[in-house]
Every structure is written in C-alpha cells, then in structure tokens.
C-alpha cells in the first residue's frame, strides 16, 4: 500500500506544479524553443537548483541513499535528445 501512496502523492504535487507553471499548454512548450517564453527553462532550472541542494545535503547527512543515477552513453544520450527535441517542439509536450 505504501508503495502506491508515495508515487501518488509525489505525482499529485508534480502534476499540480506542472499545471500551475502552465506547462500543460502547447504554446508554453513550443515557445521555449522559439526563445519567446522561457517558462519551461525557469521551471526546470528552479526545481533542479533547489532539489540539488536538498538532495546533496541529505546525502551528506546520511538521511538518503542516492537513487539509480542515469547511465551515461554519450552517443545514446545526445542522439536520443536530438530525436526527442523534434517530437517535443513539433507536438508541444
């Protein structure tokens, strides 16, 4: 049961924040690639900066163990990103 509640609560906050940032809308996603509305970047970087500090602080305090870190395959990550960007800018999600 706890295995379901944690992702549900985390997802609830995640979805709420996505909608409040306006990122559920087509024009917000496309305009970041046209550099006319940087909401996506502001949202991404604000969350990353805040969570980075919190995660590494908790890690040093021994409260938390680092979860699975995404594997680095230079070609895979870059090529995957290049393909991903086409779909994201084209469809807007």
């Amino acid at each position: 049961m706890a295995g379901i509640i944690v992702p549900l609560v985390s997802g609830l906050v995640f979805g709420w924040s996505l909608h409040k940032a306006g990122l559920t809308k087509y024009h917000k996603i496309v305009n970041v690639f046209r550099l006319t509305d940087l909401a996506v970047l502001k949202y991404m970087l604000a969350s990353m900066a805040a969570a980075m500090v919190a995660v590494y602080a908790l890690l040093d305090l021994g409260v938390l163990t680092m979860p699975n870190i995404n594997a680095t395959y230079i070609a895979g990550n870059v090529i995957g990103g290049l393909i991903f960007g086409v779909g994201m800018a084209g469809a807007g999600f």
């Binding site: 949202y43 895979g76 960007g85 779909g87």
Partner: protein
C-alpha cells in the same frame, strides 16, 4: 487559509514557485521510495503490458525483460498522480475545459482542424517516446531527475533536446506568428 485557497485558485504561478514544488515532489519520491520522477517509463511499462497480451513474442527481448519490465509499476502510479494533480489544479482554477486543439497559438498556426492535431500529436508522441527510449529518459526522468543527481547523461540530453527542438520550431514557424 484564505491566502492558500486564493493561491490554489490562481490559473498560473510564477514558474520559479512551481519549480520549487517540483523539487518537493522529487524529495517525496526519493525519501519515500528511493525512486526518481519520470513520465516516459510508465508509458513503456503500459505499452509493454498491452503488447504482451496481443503478441508475447514482441516483448520477449532484452529491453522489456530488463530495462522496462511491463506491468503496473511505481512510475505508472506516479503518472496517475500527475494526472490527478493537474486535474485538481485545473478544476480549482477554472482552467479545466475539454479542448480538441490547443487554443492559443496552435489554431493560428495550424488552423482549427482536429485531424491535424491528432496526426501531429500521434507522430510527435512516437518520436518523443522513441528518443526517450534511446536516451534513457525524458524531460522529467532524465533532464530534471538526472540533472539533480548531476548525471552527465542529463546535460548531454538537454543539449540534444534544445539543439533539435530549436531547429524544429524554426522550420515549423519560419516567419509565422
């Protein structure tokens, strides 16, 4: 309390404030169940499950056995939560409405025809999921979660995503809008 309700009813927050709440969601996930956020994985788990029913031979490979096992996983429950959270926010702020095409910008650029949105959304969805499969995550699962852990993969992915995204937007829009 009044202030909280007023904030909840707002249609839009500053992206910085909303971003801080994403950091909260990330911490809940990491502290609660040692998982990072991600959206594309759940769709692969679900599609693996559906494909497994229709044609088991298609999911009998390395990818679905080890990397993305089919089934109702942690990520799927996260996606259910995302859906509910966004719905709640939209409903409270009066932003909820069934739209066949995005009203802002899309209609001016592509026109209001529904089939265009469906075709582009479908093809775009396939491309996005395929790219995420190769890279090992999507915007949330790799760029944001990986970036928080300072994984090099995340920054390589962000570079690729913006390089091709800006080019695609340029090709689609040219001088329009």
């Amino acid at each position: 309390m009044k202030w909280i309700m007023a904030q909840a009813r707002k249609k839009e927050w500053s992206p910085y404030t909303a971003g801080l709440w994403l950091a909260v969601a990330f911490l809940i996930a990491v502290l609660g169940s040692d998982q990072t956020l991600g959206a594309s994985g759940a769709l692969e788990n679900l599609s693996g499950m559906i494909t497994g029913v229709i044609s088991p031979a298609l999911v009998d490979n390395m990818y679905f056995k080890f990397i993305m096992p089919p089934g109702i996983t942690w990520q799927v429950w996260l996606l259910v939560g995302v859906f509910l959270g966004a719905f709640l926010s939209a409903k409270l702020s009066g932003d909820f409405k069934i739209r066949w095409t995005p009203e802002v910008q899309w209609n001016q650029v592509f026109g209001p025809q529904r089939w265009k949105r469906w075709v582009i959304a479908f093809i775009g969805g396939v491309i996005v999921e395929y790219g995420a499969g190769i890279a090992g995550g999507c915007t949330s699962g790799l760029a944001i979660s990986g970036g928080i852990e300072l994984a090099p993969a995340a920054f390589l992915f962000i570079f690729g995503m913006f390089a091709s995204g800006m080019l695609t937007a340029r090709v689609i829009y040219r001088r329009k809008f």
